[in-house]
Amino acid sequence: MLQYTIRRLFSLIPVMCIVSIIVFMIIHLTPGNPAHLILGEDASEESIKQLEEQLGLDQPIVMQYVNWVKDIVTGDFGQSVYSSEPVLDIILGRLGPTFSITIVSIIMILVISIPIAIAAVWKRNTLIDPLFISISLLGVSIPEFWFAMLLVLGFAVSIPLFPVAGYIPMADGIFQWLYHLILPSFVLAAVEIGLVARMLRDGMLESVNQDYIRTARAKGVKESIVLMKHVFSNALIPTTTVIGAMVAGLLGGTVIIETMFTIPGMGQLLVDSIYRRDYPIIQGVILFIAVVYVIVNLLVDLLYTFLDPRIRYD
């Protein structure tokens, strides 16, 4: 197990190299002189020169990359072109809200999709199952921004149950924090609920006709326990593979949701920085998201081996 973990960690090195090259290239792939782009049409030659020096753009490109990576490894992500604050500080300041929405929506996804999947399998010979499939399909195909507006109209404007927008840090009261997160997190979760519930249901239906389930029934085990213990835990194995994709979906989704609900998280930071052409921040945020994604997938792989004793590496 330890050996496998170490091997998996080493396999991250080439992945991270490629990611860093792509992130680094962002600034160079946009046509024209980056310093020019950042400062706008009527910037003076002098200020452009100055910025080029600050960003290291006057050096050969390979040197630029090497220096950039060196700085990042030592924790220096550069400075915001817009506010001159260190990029790392800005990102860390925005972490809380994004982290909060993501966690709350992951909890929502699990709490909602697991019982739904179990119910769909429990009542698999009734109309509940086709109904479930249609709804989950609907859930997957609804555009997030449209659903967000619908919910805000319904549950924040017409029936003012939830706040329209905004974010309260957890330190200012856990109830207020959660209260402001429910709507945005639910919008974020909606798409994934359909996906995860569908994966779970398919996995359970696959497992429910297996010989070992017949064995469990032949022992006289209650059908509810057969489903929740034997069928469900086998269905979890294929479902974990979509968790990586799910986290990617959530992180991408926060960009839209944070903008719509004016939540000062990383997604909003990214959008703002794109408007301001604040390349160091754009690079920092994207690098950060990529790293989170890679780590989540590593954890999923390890979880996978933990769930399925047949592929436990020892």
Binding site: A216, A218, G220
Partner: protein, 339 residues
Amino acid sequence: MLEVKNLKAYIDTPAGIVKAVDDVSFSLKAGETIGIVGESGSGKSVLALSLMQLNPSPPTFYPQGEILLEGKNLLHLKEKELRNLRGNDIAMIFQDPMSSLNPIFKIGTQLMEAIRTHQNINRAEAKKKAIVLLKDVGISDPERRMNDYPHQLSGGMRQRVMIAIALAGKPKILIADEPTTALDVTIQAQILDLMKDIQKKYGTAIIIITHDLGVVAQLADKIVVMYSGRIVEEGKTEDIFYHTAMPYTWSLLRSMPRIDTSSRERLIPIQGQPPNLVSPPEGCNFNPRCPFATADCLKIDPSLTERGVGHYAACILSEKIFEEGKLQLENFETKGVPL
């Protein structure tokens, strides 16, 4: 103890209604071993699963019959009453020990679950009982084996674990659906020996399902021969082997290696295909494949008639015609004497 009367188990499929078990009756006394034999697709497994009410339903349904276990008709029991019965009064082991154990739980966990489902005891006591059971089924070092996952055991070991699970509730009846088919020959013999020992030790009645007559010859007091969902011959093991009264049984015997006679005899496969169970042939179901079929066989659907004490067969041919036919056929096959 167990009495099956005129049982029908049909399966509703897109192709039509499969008459997997069609008007089957037999009985089993305490401690007795009965063998159910027949080709693949003859309805043996559906019959066995009916006895535990474990056929998936829908699509399976029971349009007729009774399954009486000590007077109670299983077809009328509620789900909860059936659960109390499964693993407790009737237990079952299956053909493929590779897939019959849950791959993600330790075998100790699965065995203890069987124990604790019917006995109100704590984990520590259940663990002790589980270790004893594993020892009883011939697993060495049971304490350590408790922590193994199914994939860490060989096929024979897994079947032993399945037997231990089945024995957990000290059942009166053990149904073994092809318990040795997936195992290699030496392991087969070990598992059969184990079943004999178990029967002696626990006094369990056994229903053993197989298409291997060698297996039933060793174990069974009584044999039931199934063909296309029906019983076509039934009797004491000696009667089935030495006073065969139904051409299908005879063909089945000829198609299998015998352990009691010289093995130089040629094996002769049964010609043709098993019938379609959605629309079986007119008359006797076996007539398209029967070497002795007469014009009457195409019209008359034979029912079981008594051929000796406790020996029944479903065939309209007289004993004389059957004997003559067999002789002619054998002469033709061995010496080329024309029919």
